[in-house]
């Protein structure tokens, strides 16, 4: 008898639990017909903050709507969290984002136009010969501990930390021009002058690097590079941070979260002259993977999330019943491509890196164009990116300010591909198998990194597309590290599907990929000993474009060179671009002053974002 009562009770409890779990209404998923459906939430253009002077203090004044103070925004970072909070030591993205919240640079990027916009500096002038940059700092602005921000801090940051080779040296490395570094000098407390040996266009943008408070960093620099590497690491106390950014570290809990609180001395004000930021706290949860991030967003622990293509349709249909809005940030900065190995040299053992039979195919432009024509980009966008993507034909990403818009897109054209192959003497037999003019069966390996499901899916579709031409493709996803080893050390690969993230603002960052002696010139990689051996005419032209592009200072002049480089790649097809995913971000609709932009993301104006009190649900 007691057993039965127990069983009945157990059953009731289980049933109650299951029913509670089912109460959430299921909403049917609607498949979107095209990308335009996600454009519904685009907003009026972002009002750029202006410089104003009040009582001798040069503030930055927000032009966006005046909001309420208080509240918290919870964002997330995927992975194991920051490795350091020192903006000069960041080697990973998470650390760079989190330290960037605290330390402003002289300039930032206008999130709409991509121009240089003032931050700690209020303006700049460039001398006519393009070699002298004069930076005007704000009067009367302060670090979070109340000390003034002056030219001393700027000179110290550039002279002692960056040019001194402290921390991560990539900024320094990129500014060595003809073996010389720029010279920094101050004139008074609010003017800093940089003199560079040659005109070098990417220089101005590199001034967005964080500025360090001299009174805090100076002792650390005195103690040497090794000490600096662990300075302001993740176990520093929050009160040790003296910052210039809108937020200041409040708490770091390893593997759980980073909490920032408002910096009371921030130099931006709203149009009522009240000090920003509006939010009291900014929290980054450290989540291990994408799935957990989605669960946390759905459980309302997160306020903002970047959605993968496969999730967008469901969120779109949930949007009108929920408290979040979706924003389309436009194409991603990442580019996905197929590359062919054009290497025709031998290794130090006298063996060819690439089989000479295959070399003939890959170095044949008709072959490369045939491969390009046979790729069905639209189908890939539809099936792999769930329609949330755009076919890509240029090495610059679609949101790049240097994108060459004259390069036309086209569809899969199997007949054009076959004609091109025929021109080069390729033949198909009765079974549709492709042979070259010497009678060799066209067969090669296609690699990508295993575990990246998107690239694996692309590989399968590329293989099918190429098989339409009669080629035999052995698709081999291999471990990421082994693949990198093949690409940059052993060069023994035929075709590869990879992705790179470039800057949408500065094509010069791609010089390692495109210049013939670049360290990532994958499609025709040369060892340092080989130098520029066996350079192809169009490779020479690419080198020239990148050299000229870096020296020119005017945007219009640079655009010409970088347009040309894109055209060369478009015509020569050493890399065949596939598609760019579109970024869709969901954010709770209680947050106001949201001005998403392709270049800046959704929280680029974090100091202006506030929580609206009106809770409208439609």
């Amino acid at each position: 008898m007691r057993g039965r009562v127990f069983r009945v009770l157990l059953f009731l409890v289980l049933a109650a639990l299951l029913l509670r779990a089912c109460i959430v209404q299921d909403i049917p998923t609607k498949i979107p017909q095209n990308n335009n459906e996600y454009q519904t939430n685009t907003v009026e253009s972002y009002p750029i903050p202006k410089n104003v002077t009040i009582d001798g203090v040069d503030y930055l004044q927000s032009q966006a709507q005046v909001g309420n103070f208080g509240g918290t925004l919870v964002s997330s970072t995927i992975g194991e969290g920051p490795k350091t909070f020192n903006p000069f030591n960041c080697k990973d993205n998470t650390s760079a984002i989190l330290s960037g919240v605290m330390y402003d640079g002289l300039f930032t990027t206008n999130p709409v136009t991509g121009d240089v916009a003032p931050k700690l500096a209020k303006g700049y002038t460039i001398s006519p010969d393009g070699k002298v940059y004069t930076i005007y700092l704000r009067h009367g602005i302060k670090w979070s501990d109340g000390k003034p921000i002056t030219a001393d801090d700027v000179v110290f940051t550039w002279q002692n930390i960056i040019f001194g080779g402290f921390g991560d040296t990539s900024t320094r490395d990129s500014l060595v021009i003809n073996g010389k570094l720029p010279i920094v000098r101050k004139y008074g407390d609010y003017i800093v002058v940089f003199s560079i040996p040659e005109p070098y266009a990417p220089f101005l943008r590199s001034l967005s690097m964080s500025i360090a408070p001299k009174h805090v960093f100076y002792p650390a620099v005195q103690k040497g590079k090794e000490y600096f590497d662990s300075f302001l690491s993740t176990n520093s106390k929050p009160q040790d941070f003296v910052v210039s950014g809108a937020f200041k570290l409040k708490e770091y809990v390893p593997a759980q979260r980073v909490v920032f609180e408002r910096n009371p001395n921030y130099y931006e004000i709203n149009s009522k002259n009240e000090k920003l930021p509006y939010l009291d706290k900014l929290v980054y949860l450290i989540v291990g993977d994408l799935n957990n991030e989605v669960l946390k967003f759905e459980a309302k622990e997160l306020d903002v999330i970047s959605l993968q293509g496969s999730k967008v349709a469901r969120y779109k249909s949930l949007e009108q019943y929920s408290d979040f809005k979706l924003y389309n940030l436009g194409p991603d900065t990442g580019t996905m491509y197929i590359s062919l190995n054009l290497n025709n040299r031998k290794n130090d053992k006298g063996k060819y890196y690439v089989d000479p039979i295959k070399q003939k195919w890959f170095s044949d432009l008709n072959f490369r164009r045939a491969v390009d024509y046979s790729i069905d980009r639209k189908n890939m966008v539809l099936n792999i990116a769930n329609g949330i993507g755009v076919p890509l034909f240029t090495p610059e990403s679609l949101n790049s300010i240097y994108l060459n818009k004259r390069l036309k897109s086209y569809n899969k054209d199997i007949n054009a591909a076959k004609i091109l192959l025929k021109k080069s003497g390729f033949k198909t037999d009765k079974r549709g198998q492709l042979f070259d003019k010497y009678g060799n069966r066209v067969e090669f390996n296609l690699y990508t990194n295993a575990g990246n499901t998107e690239r694996e899916a692309i590989g399968v579709m590329v293989k099918q597309d190429l098989e339409d031409l009669g080629m035999k493709v052995n698709f081999k996803p291999i471990e990421f590290n082994s693949l990198v080893n093949k690409l940059v050390s052993t060069f023994d690969w035929d075709m590869v599907i990879m992705g790179l993230t470039g800057s949408p603002l500065e094509p010069n960052g791609g010089k390692n990929v495109w210049m013939s002696d670049g360290r990532l010139h994958m499609f025709n990689m040369r060892t340092p000993q080989e130098g520029k051996a066996g350079i192809l005419p169009w490779e020479k032209e690419l080198d020239l474009m990148f050299e000229k592009g870096a020296l020119a200072t005017k945007f219009e002049d640079r655009k010409i060179y970088y347009d040309k480089y894109q055209e060369i790649v478009y015509n020569q097809k050493p890399m065949i671009y596939i598609y760019s995913p579109i970024r869709i971000v969901a954010i709770r609709d209680k947050f106001k002053n949201i001005y998403p932009s392709s270049l800046g993301g959704i929280t680029h104006n974090i100091e202006e974002i506030y929580i609206g009190h009106d809770k409208v649900h439609n």
């Binding site: 490395d173 990129s174 759905e298 590290n481 360290r519």
Partner: protein, 323 residues
């Protein structure tokens, strides 16, 4: 005195064992094709000089034997080295160990406090309805894969909103009163504890039940009963003491699992323990961190076994007389 000698002998025996374990792990990690610098090499804005500098800093430019020698020497001195990003390994582990210990200790305490009595009851009430229900429940517990169960519970938490989605504390934890902090941690611990508890409880209960059944069937128990000793004394004085011996060995293994046993569940619940840290370290071939955690696992296992053996010496006169 004999016992102390025995303990010292056992400790000395573990030294060659640890050396072999460390060598095997070190060489397997280093000989795997994972290049710790791959990401750096593929970053267009990183210069070749930086890559070379990084290589020298991590000691990757030296032959593998020398790399091992350097590591072993500093390990023997008690220095665990630094991670590939320059943080101290000892401190990284120190951040996580308390969290993992909190979770595993609660689970072990709960399972032993519940599992052992349940095992005894099931054995004593052998083939009654209660025993059958327990058998069914424990079979279910053993059959569910832990990560699957964890994912199910997470879905449950999302749908109902009753529990937080993983982690150990809420974002506003620092501003809470002591009572609220205690509740916050408890609230976060409930789901991971349920997962680990269900799974280890099942095994433990089955084990205890089987031991007890064995003993209850033995001649001395029959004899005690025949003598007319009361049932309570038979079970708790004669049978239980003998049935507990295998459980003590098991306790040694449980000790070894204190730090590593919950890795999978920790990962699913995004629990800030060792599991996530070590998984990432392995994926990035962060050698010092991986080696430290492997060595820690090996040492914990050795210590666990040692403790079990010592406990056995204390509880079992037969072993005492032999050693």
């Amino acid at each position: 005195m004999d016992t102390i000698k025995y303990i010292i002998k056992r400790i000395l025996q573990t030294i060659p064992l640890l050396i072999i374990v460390s060598m095997i792990s070190f060489f397997i990690i280093r000989l795997s094709p994972v290049d710790p610098l791959a990401e750096l090499k593929l970053n267009p804005s990183v210069s070749p000089e930086t890559v070379e500098k990084e290589k020298a800093r991590l000691g990757l430019d030296k032959p593998i034997i020398i790399q091992y020698g350097k590591w072993a020497l500093s390990f023997a001195r008690g220095d665990l080295g630094i991670t590939s990003t320059g943080e101290k390994v000892s401190q990284k582990l120190g951040e996580r160990i308390p969290n993992t210990l909190l979770l595993t200790t609660i689970v072990i305490l709960l399972t032993w406090l519940v599992g052992v009595p349940l095992g005894i009851i099931a054995a004593v009430r052998w083939k009654t309805n209660l025993d059958r229900i327990l058998t069914v429940l424990t079979s279910i517990g053993m059959a569910i894969p832990s990560f699957f169960f964890a994912v199910l519970l997470l879905m449950f938490a999302v749908k109902t909103g009753w529990f937080p989605i993983g982690g150990l504390t809420s974002p506003n934890f620092a501003d809470m009163s002591f009572g609220a902090k205690f509740w916050d941690i408890t609230h976060h611990l409930i789901l991971p504890v349920i997962v680990l508890f269900t799974i280890s409880l099942a095994g433990l209960q089955r084990q205890m039940r089987a031991n007890m059944l064995d003993v209850l069937d033995s001649d001395y128990v029959k004899f005690a009963r025949a003598k007319g000793v009361s049932e309570g004394v038979v079970i708790y004085k004669h049978a239980l003491r003998n049935a507990l011996n295998p459980m003590i060995t098991l306790l040694g293994f449980e000790f070894a699992g204190l730090l590593s046993g919950a890795a999978l569940t920790e990962y699913v619940f995004q629990y800030p323990g060792l599991g996530r840290l070590i998984l990432e370290a392995v994926l990035k071939s962060d050698i010092n961190l991986v080696m430290a955690s492997l060595m820690m696992g090996a040492i914990m296992l050795v210590i666990g076994n040692l403790i079990a053996d010592i406990l056995l010496i204390i509880t079992d006169p037969r072993i005492r007389s032999k050693s």
